[in-house]
């Protein structure tokens, strides 16, 4: 049986961010990972050009095995993209996760969910970090390091600058499309006069390159974001693995599915399978970065904990936004992730956050299925309407969810999802506020289009083993070490004590970096 110093489980944003400080300090690190890799090449022509000329487009739009149709009920178009099949495949089955009224999504791929994320990045403010068991200043250095490493746009001073808090280290903005440009101009024109103080809008800050960065190319706005970026403009931690492998003290074992972690002879024994063969590796320290759901499963098993633990996820909604002034606008391929973002203030000091996206890079069938029209006339309508429409989403804070995670008798993880009782009234309030605010900037939230998503559909999972100053069983300390399990750390969303209505992956990365830097000190102190 092999024995290692430090094992990191998972190669997603948390795992890679935890790996860098340790590896760069010279500490020996072994990374275990599901290791799945893409099987399809990504489209490299402008989306609308491929669509109007490629006779084989169905292969990447639907998939040769009809992946898009197999997942037609999935909550996100990304779940239907054949090029991203490898990202989501077999996650629930392999990890024995069952969900009830909850959308549980994870990944066994190299880079985890960062292969298919929305690239939204934001710092947590001092107020949002107040429940974290350390000074907010401790995160500053990590936020800066991560921003510079992954490449973030846009450094554009506007009403959302404070919300995102990254402009100092960010790259130039990716150009907006016509619709977003119109909205932005309208907002800036009317901001001082009529737009509600409860509504703020500005450029979305995303981990997508506005200029070339460490071998990755800047965004060329082909509009293929939904299927993946052939220029690697969108950040994915899968591209970090080769860089980490250039360090001799880093080793990477793909295809290793961790089933359990047990304490044995003062060491941690990581049990799993590699190519269907059972394998065990021991280590002095194990850092869990397998994503909130899998990390939670492994910790609960290690603790022999049969009681349920809370799970945060952000209640979400989506809506269609129409800009009447731009009816008849010509469709152009454009950046497909969030272009503008907004924050709203609701009653009871609840805030919301959302982004707006171009519809030109999304198949029309994604919309027409939800239209209260006969299919034939729904297509007729969208053919003429959609070029002047945007799609928007909204996130509310994770504390408004009421999800619970339980280890069942057969050692499978059961997730029971739900929203707090106030969510529906808050969503109604948010809907009214968005209708009003967007109307003031010349856009209409389409009637009946504001739809609340299923619990877990946000894929912002967090808070199962929150960091506390004085942790109890079922909690972690400021280093992410699980109470009662010395040497077992968790650095992904599981240890976040708070999940505000904001992109959370960036803070997970910064927190993993912070914990890892402190581990570096203790590691070299011990040696």
């Amino acid at each position: 049986m092999r024995s290692e110093e430090i094992i990191i489980v998972g190669s997603g944003p948390a795992g890679v961010s935890a790996a860098y400080p340790l590896v760069e300090s010279g500490a020996p690190v072994l990374m275990l990972d599901g290791g799945r890799t893409p099987r399809m090449s990504l489209p490299d022509q402008p989306y609308l050009v491929s669509r109007s000329s490629d006779p084989h487009q169905w292969k990447w739009l639907v998939g040769e095995t009809f992946h898009a149709l197999k997942n037609i009920e999935g909550v996100s178009p990304k779940l239907r993209a054949p090029t991203l099949k490898y990202v989501f495949d077999d996650f629930e089955h392999t990890n024995r996760i069952r969900s009830n009224n909850f959308v549980s999504i994870g990944s066994l791929s190299v880079g985890g969910l960062s292969n298919a994320w929305g690239c939204g990045v934001a710092r947590f403010s001092s107020e949002e970090l107040i429940s974290f068991p350390f000074s907010p200043n401790e995160m500053d250095q990590s936020y800066e390091i991560i921003t510079k490493r992954i490449g973030v746009s846009a450094n554009h001073p506007d009403d959302m600058s404070d919300f995102f808090g990254l402009d100092a280290w960010a790259q130039p903005a990716i150009p907006l499309d016509d619709l977003h440009l119109y909205l932005q101009k309208q907002y800036e024109k009317k901001r001082m006069r009529s737009v509600s103080s409860h509504f703020r809008m500005g450029r979305a800050r995303v981990a997508v390159l506005g200029e070339d960065h460490e071998g990755r190319k800047k965004c060329d706005q082909l509009g293929n974001c939904l299927w993946g970026c052939h220029r690697d403009s969108m950040y994915s931690t899968s591209k970090e693995i080769p860089k980490l492998q250039s360090h001799r003290n880093f080793s990477y074992k793909p295809g290793f599915i961790v089933n359990a972690i047990v304490r044995q002879d003062g060491q941690w024994l990581v049990k799993g399978t590699l190519a269907d063969q059972a394998l065990e590796i021991s280590a002095r320290k194990v850092i869990l970065a397998a994503g909130t759901l899998v990390s939670t499963l492994l910790i609960i098993k290690a603790l022999h904990h049969r009681c349920s633990v809370p799970l945060f996820s952000c209640p979400t909604a989506a809506f269609l936004l129409w800009i009447p002034s731009l009816l008849g606008n010509q469709r152009r391929s454009s950046f497909g992730l969030g272009q503008l973002s907004f924050s709203i203030k609701l009653s009871d000091n609840v805030s919301g956050y959302g982004s707006t996206f171009s519809t030109s890079g999304i198949p029309v069938s994604e919309f027409v299925r939800h239209l209260p029209f006969h299919r034939r006339y729904g297509v007729d309508l969208l053919k003429h309407l959609l070029s002047s429409c945007l799609v928007g989403n909204l996130f509310l804070p994770g504390r408004l969810s009421s999800g619970r995670v339980t280890l069942d008798a057969d050692d499978s993880l059961r997730i029971d999802g739900g929203h707090s009782s106030v969510v529906s009234s808050l969503m109604e309030e948010a809907s009214r506020l968005l209708h009003r605010s967007f109307r003031q900037v010349g856009a209409i939230v389409m009637p009946m289009s504001f739809k609340i998503g299923l619990p877990g559909g946000d894929i912002h999972y967090a808070g199962t083993f929150p960091m506390r100053k004085n942790p109890k069983i079922g909690e972690t300390d400021e280093m992410g070490m699980i109470k009662g399990l010395e040497g077992l750390y968790v650095v992904d969303g599981s240890c976040l004590p708070e999940l505000p209505a904001k992109p959370h992956a960036f803070t997970i990365m910064a927190n993993a970096d912070r914990i890892s830097r402190r581990l570096v000190a203790s590691f070299w102190g011990e040696h």
Binding site: L48, S53, W58, G328, S365, R376, Y377, K383
Partner: protein
């Protein structure tokens, strides 16, 4: 199992030999003509008095050979004598015996053919063998009576529709052969006499229409002809002339007894393919109906004819992901796909099969959008996009929607509650 088969070159015998190979059996043909598709051939003639020998290792003797035409008293007697010889040699060798009889078989049958079959049946029962009486066999290659009827429908644009129309109980040749093998492979589980045919008889006219639409794909006119006059005519021309004109089968048709096949089905738990499915040369029209369904859905949404590859892709999707059963979109909707809007009303969407219809409509939408043709339909010609074009396009869509909402409101309840339309799911 080594099976000796008489009538191996006939309509049913040919399919039987092919199936036997697939199921791992060896068939030795006994007949007048050499049969290449069997492993061996033994000369045999129903009219011959020559002795009969069975090859070593024979486990089953299946007797299908029959004098279908030019049956007279002498040939019928010879046929019965040959059957007795076969039974005797089988009994001596300890070989099991199965006789393929006819729906016309009965003691007082109006035709010599039916009476001959009945007499042979009695001998088989005495010897402890098994008998199968099939209804009207159809499908597969155009041989036997089925082949004659197909030829008739192919040649004649006008066909008689007898009033009242005699009813037949069709069975596809492959279903019949499949059931024969079930008996052969497990004789203990079957009674001596099995009646095989559709438990729901169809009129002879429906059968001919089935050939016209499902087999030769031609429209045929059916002229009502009173059965009474035909029967009087057949009576007056006499047996000899009937035989010469080949009208003996008509006599059988008018006096065909009903077979209670339900008891056989209950016993052996078989299901027969439908007339429309079996009429297709492949023996299954599911693919054709799925192609029709695909075409209807695509034309409904696309407002244009889809190409063949898109249709085939849809069939693959339904076959691989949804079990491959057609929805059963009515024929009038296939001819007027815009009317599918009626089925998008809650009355049908919330009824049984509504979810499946919606899934397929969604699948068809996704598939058709992922084509170059679909791009112009879903996204439009980007150069043509301007305010007036979009404005009128939206207005047209809203008007169309309003019209079909009103139509659905009127037509959907009529279809559902008065005409009892249901999805076949």
């Amino acid at each position: 199992m080594k099976i000796v088969l008489t009538g191996a070159s006939g309509y049913i015998g040919t399919r039987f030999s092919s199936f036997a190979g697939l199921r791992g059996h060896t068939v030795v043909a006994m007949g007048r003509k050499f049969v290449s598709h069997c492993s061996a051939w033994i000369p045999f003639d129903l009219q011959s008095a020559a002795p009969i020998f069975l090859p070593e290792g024979t486990e089953f003797l299946v007797h299908m050979a029959s004098e279908n035409s030019e049956t007279n008293g002498e040939t019928a007697e010879n046929e019965i004598r040959s059957a007795k010889k076969l039974l005797a040699v089988a009994r001596q060798s300890g070989v099991k015996f199965l006789f393929l009889s006819s729906q016309t078989a009965r003691e007082d049958a109006p035709t010599l053919y039916g009476r001959t079959k009945w007499k042979i049946e009695q001998e088989v029962l005495l010897s402890g063998g098994w008998i199968v009486r099939p209804g009207q066999v159809f499908g597969g290659k155009e041989h036997g009576m089925f082949g004659r009827l197909v030829g008739l429908v192919r040649r004649w644009p006008f066909l008689p529709a007898f009033v009242p129309c005699p009813k037949i109980q069709p069975i596809h040749v492959d279903d019949l052969v499949f059931e024969l093998f079930r008996i052969i492979e497990n004789t203990e589980g079957f009674p001596p006499l099995s009646l095989l045919g559709s438990p729901c008889p169809v009129t002879f006219t429906q059968f001919l229409k089935g050939i016209a639409t499902g087999r030769i794909r031609r429209y045929r006119w059916f002229i009502p002809v009173p059965s009474f006059f035909v029967r009087v005519f057949l009576f007056f021309i006499g047996k000899r002339l009937r035989g010469l004109l080949g009208l003996e089968s008509l006599m059988s048709l008018f006096s065909l007894p009903y077979m209670d096949t339900l008891s056989t089905f209950r016993h052996s738990n078989i299901s027969l393919r439908s007339l429309s499915a079996g009429m297709h040369p492949s023996g299954d029209d599911r693919k054709r109906r799925l192609l029709m369904e695909a075409r209807t859905l695509f034309v409904y949404v696309l407002r244009n004819r889809p190409n063949g590859s898109l249709l085939r892709r849809y069939v693959r999707v339904v076959s691989e992901l949804r079990g491959g059963r057609p929805l059963g979109i009515p024929r009038w909707a296939c001819q007027f796909p815009a009317a599918l809007a009626v089925f998008e009303s809650p009355i049908f969407l919330n009824a049984q099969g509504g979810t499946e219809f919606l899934w397929r409509l969604n699948a068809a939408t996704v598939l058709m959008e992922a084509t170059v043709l679909g791009v112009s339909r879903f996204i439009g010609n980007r150069d043509k996009n301007h305010l007036a074009f979009s404005f009128f396009g939206i207005g047209f869509a809203i008007l169309g929607e309003m019209f079909w909402r009103a139509m659905s409101w009127i037509v959907a309840p009529i279809l559902r509650y008065l005409l009892f339309f249901r999805w076949k799911f």
